[in-house]
């Protein structure tokens, strides 16, 4: 963790879909997904370019500087 990631009270930053997001220690991927969508179906999550299966979202706690991608279907050829 770099000094810039570390803030008082342990609050830190992660990047969700390219946008910086402030989280408290213990925040799970499941909570971050629920910040951007009410849905679970049709969603895939990558943490630092690794797939995290839906069944693990609520068990995985994010760390400072993590890159989270919350993905779904878009129109595409």
């Amino acid at each position: 963790m770099s000094d810039t990631d570390r803030v008082h009270d342990g609050i830190f930053q992660v990047v969700v879909n390219g946008l910086s997001s402030t989280v408290v220690p213990g925040t799970t991927l499941g909570e971050l997904v629920r910040r951007v969508t009410d849905h679970q179906a049709g969603i895939a999550v990558a943490l630092n370019a690794e797939i995290v299966p839906r069944s693990h979202w609520d068990a995985v706690q994010v760390q400072a500087g993590d890159r989270v991608e919350v993905l779904t279907a878009a129109a595409g050829g």
Partner: protein, 266 residues
């Protein structure tokens, strides 16, 4: 019973990986102007499978492509559009499998931003890895019979050569190569990319393709629903024409009216 229903019959369905897809026309949703138009195009095209891309969720979006496809009971075919390496494409396919609960993938690995032509080296590497991982892989490929054979050997369930660059509407620039691909492989050949209008789709089926994937020609037409219907009819016409057996090409004319019984009126 409509003509489209007839063509969905078992003897005429598109068979991929031991499954029958209802329509030979696979709809690409790229370029669709709205979800309302998408719903109309699905109905008009008679398609039973449609592609989607995997992208960051938009929290402000009202409705979704996925909801429209599911409401119309259209099968989702995820693509790996936007990937430039095998590694990216394989990860994208696995994410799509997680999101959409399908192991089918339209595999795209692009090699050039201007032409959007596939990178055959990365494509084959990605196809091998995904086939080994149990995916039903439908690779978007250049119009190369040798590459088609290599992709079939890798285990791909179909091959999808381009008629011309994505979104160009230039039709089938090298029909001879497409025919050679049809002869080179035993898996279905689905023409993907380049179709500009209905007659291009008819031609693809006439020269031996088992299906066509059409996006821009429909979604970016002035009247997408009318074009969707036109392409559906063209695919049916192309199939009927192919099954009917066209006449051979001839260098000189061959009269169709009898030469006997002419009146003496000189």
């Amino acid at each position: 019973m409509s003509a489209s229903r007839r063509s969905a019959g078992p003897s005429q369905g598109l068979r991929i990986a031991n499954r029958t897809i209802g329509s030979r026309l696979i709809l690409g949703t790229g370029g669709i102007p709205s979800l309302e138009v998408l719903a109309g195009v699905i109905a008009a095209s008679g398609a039973s499978m449609a592609t989607v891309a995997l992208r960051r969720i938009d929290p402000s979006a009202k409705g979704s492509v996925l909801e429209v496809l599911r409401d119309h009971e259209i099968e989702v075919l995820p693509n790996t559009a936007g990937c430039f390496t095998a590694k990216e494409a394989v990860l994208t396919a696995r994410l799509a499998r997680e999101a959409f609960e399908t192991d089918w993938v339209k595999l795209e690995v692009i090699g050039d931003e201007d032409t959007l032509l596939p990178d055959p080296v990365e494509l084959l590497a990605a196809a091998e890895e995904l086939c080994d991982d149990g995916f039903v892989v439908l690779p978007y490929m250049s119009d190369d019979p040798v590459l088609a054979r290599r992709l079939e050997q890798a285990g791909c369930a179909a091959v999808m050569p381009l008629g011309s660059p994505i979104g160009s509407g230039l039709g089938i620039r090298n029909p001879h190569a497409i025919s050679q691909i049809v002869d080179a492989v035993s898996v279905p050949v689905i023409l993907d990319a380049g179709i500009g209008t209905a007659s291009d789709a008819a031609r693809a089926i006439e020269i031996g393709c088992e299906g066509v994937l059409v996006a821009s020609a429909i979604t970016r037409a002035e009247h997408p629903l009318r074009m969707a219907a036109a392409v559906r009819l063209a695919v049916e016409a192309g199939f009927e024409a192919r099954e009917a057996g066209r006449i051979p090409y001839r260098y000189q004319a061959r009269a169709s009216s009898p030469s006997e019984g002419m009146a003496d009126i000189e």
